[in-house]
Symmetry: C2
Subunit: 126 residues, 2 copies
């Protein structure tokens, strides 16, 4: 009987806008800072869970002990290059189908997804 509905609320609007505006992998805290604490950190997390479940957001790991989130948006599937000096992040696209196929063949696994991030020095920092 009861209809389930996902409501369009202020926190959701704001978190989405923040992700859109920042347009790079950001932490929950960075979203909160950007929003100047207009909403509670808890709501940031809850909205992120929602966006992840509905496949609008990707979780990205740089190994800092926290998660980063990025809007899937228009961009194609891609990875990142992080400058270890200045922290700058650059998107990296590449053709990986043959690599994936090769791994599947050798392992007999069916691959569902993968994480790939690069770390190094950007042109300015090297």
């Amino acid at each position: 009987m009861t209809k389930i509905g996902i409501r369009y609320t202020k926190p959701r609007k704001l978190v989405f806008e923040a992700l859109e505006h920042l347009s790079k992998p950001v932490s929950a805290n960075e979203i909160n800072d950007y929003l100047k604490n207009k909403i509670d950190l808890t709501s940031v997390y809850r909205t992120l869970s929602l966006l992840i479940k509905s496949e609008m957001v990707n979780v990205i790991l740089f190994g800092e002990g926290k998660k980063r989130y990025e809007l899937k948006n228009k961009n194609e599937h891609h990875h990142h290059l992080v400058c270890e000096k200045c922290g700058d992040v650059k998107d990296v696209e590449m053709k990986e189908s043959s690599l994936l196929k090769s791994v599947e063949e050798r392992s007999k696994f069916v691959i569902k997804k993968h994480n790939l991030e690069f770390f190094g020095l950007c042109p300015d920092c090297q």
Copy 2:
């Protein structure tokens, strides 16, 4: 004047043996469980830091919100394939030099390292 010395102690012996025996990416807690709490969790962490600094151990991220550690040992540089159903982990080796070179050329970054992990279903689970 004072010599600095790194001591060969029971916790260090045990953590190393645990990593050797488990021989796959394990969490600090799993090491501690394997050692049946013979040493404190803090010492596990401290020994791991030491082993990482001396490049004997690699940190691996599966995105569970915690780090995993694996002995570098004899094995070459490699990545992993994780079964999302049974949790089984398989090593994956591949030639990635051309891929790395391509990313460096396109981005102008100098790449120092990268993380790459695959997730899917193992032969038994699919």
